[in-house]
Amino acid sequence: MVKVKNQQRAKNFSDFLQLIEDEAIRFPVELIPVAEQTSAVAQAVLLLDRTLSAKRKRELARAVTAGCPSETKREQHIALLDRAGALTWAENFQDCVHAELARVKKSRLPCSLLLIRVAGTGERSFLQQAAATLKKEIEGDHHLAHFDHATLALLLPGLNRNRALRQAGAIHQSLSAAITVRVTIGLAVCMARAVPAADEFMAMALQELRKAEYETGDIFYSFHQQDDDACQVTAEERVQLFSFLSRGKKE
């Protein structure tokens, strides 16, 4: 549910949709205008949980549009909103990260955050080029946003360290082929056992991005590996735990 402020500002349905879009962008939802096939004008809008799979979204969208009047005998179609020129910015993106981390706690599924920096002069145009390239690569439940004037942020729900690293490698490869400047990536992975605050999570990725910028190697990542391993019973501990049993046997 998205609450639309200043409804009175909307003069027509198109304005109203715009207001919904303005509000929806702050939430982890996919905004899908529904239009008749022969018309570019949206007649309704679906707001779907962004973390749903693309297949599930299609199913839901079909189920909803199946209820539309059929007298027109024109097939309905779903048009995904083209966000090419309308990426969210960091302050709104932080809300998305916050919502996503809450979901990690609840679903126990990990999530990964990539910060992708495009270096060199004329960064703005390179960044737009990078965004356009990325849009073709990312999946429906991924969330792409501007982080700063030279950096894109990509939130990958459900991706663990290995999958996120593979994705980062693939992104780096395709961006390096598409644009001529250096591309560096900082990656942070959040596991359910240690969920940081949204700003902390973004800072983790930023720290890795800085490492990538100033050190050799274009991709750096941080992961709560140590926390996990810290609880593991080690071989040394086991040897000591069982030592009394071997003493008993000798006696």
């Binding site: 609840k106 926390d227 609880c231 040394e236 086991r238 735990l241 030592s243 009394f244 008993g248």
Partner: protein, 249 residues
């Protein structure tokens, strides 16, 4: 009920299953209530409860209703004997074994409202190191870990303590050695465990007592009665009374 007592919340865990958590917890509750203390036993094995089975109860309501419907835990309470109350949990409900963060917080909040009615609240946790086990251990003011002289039980008890220390910085643990052949064996197990805990985790556990191997325990389980009630003079019963006195002192 009289509220605002100085309630002591004790969590009883073991890591490994079948070490004797539920049996011990039921008998400790019976022992404390025999000493005129008001005791609440919470079945913390939320998805695979056993306390009701071991007490031969036919429960109508469980903690599942508190989590799912918001039912007041006071409406679920079952009085076993004067001063000994049980909050039963559900059995065969996987959802209850994997509560979300919000559900677990809601459950703890509901329990917080009633614990003030009792002198002692004992939580018999599930086996393993699942979220509910860690949650209840973190919630409790006192942590009792039960282990037996088996390597598996020792490893699992150690692993649980290690997790509680690493993640929640819990440092005070009370050990009970169950199913021992002699006091000497209990001492050996404790000293060994204590040495490893001190060497690797910097923890000095407290020796809470030991329970000897006793056929009275097996018989009481089959009779669905606390062995302390069924055979008060049995060696295991005497050992539990000793532990009870130690807790009270």
């Amino acid at each position: 009920m009289e509220k605002n007592r100085k309630t002591q919340i004790i969590c009883i865990s073991s890591g490994k299953g079948g070490v004797g958590k539920t049996s011990f917890t039921i008998n400790l509750a019976a022992a404390l209530s025999a000493k005129s203390r008001k005791v609440l036993l919470i079945d913390g094995d939320l998805g695979l409860a056993n306390v009701d089975v071991m007490l031969g109860l036919n429960v109508k309501h469980t903690l599942r209703e508190t989590v799912e419907e918001g039912r007041d835990p006071m409406e679920i309470l079952v009085e076993i004997m004067p001063g000994f109350f049980v909050l039963p949990a559900s059995s065969g409900v996987p959802e209850m074994a994997h509560l979300s963060y919000e559900e677990q917080a809601f459950l703890t909040d509901s329990l917080e409202h009633i614990v003030g009615n009792f002198d002692f609240v004992l939580v018999d946790t599930a086996a393993g190191v699942g979220e509910s086990v860690l949650w209840f251990n973190n919630w409790a003011g006192k942590n009792i870990t039960i282990l037996s002289p088996d390597p598996t039980a020792m490893t699992d008890a150690y692993a649980l303590i290690k997790i509680m220390k690493t993640r929640y910085n819990k440092k005070d643990f009370h050990l009970i050695i169950n199913n021992v052949k002699s006091k000497k064996e209990a001492q050996e197990v404790f000293v060994n465990m204590s040495t490893v805990l001190e060497n690797f985790l910097g923890i000095k556990p407290c020796y809470q007592g030991a329970i000897p191997q006793d056929s009275a325990v097996v018989m009481a389980v089959r009779q669905q009665k606390p062995f302390l009630i069924a055979q008060p003079k049995a060696r295991a019963s005497m050992a539990v009374m000793e532990i009870c006195n130690k807790i009270l002192s």
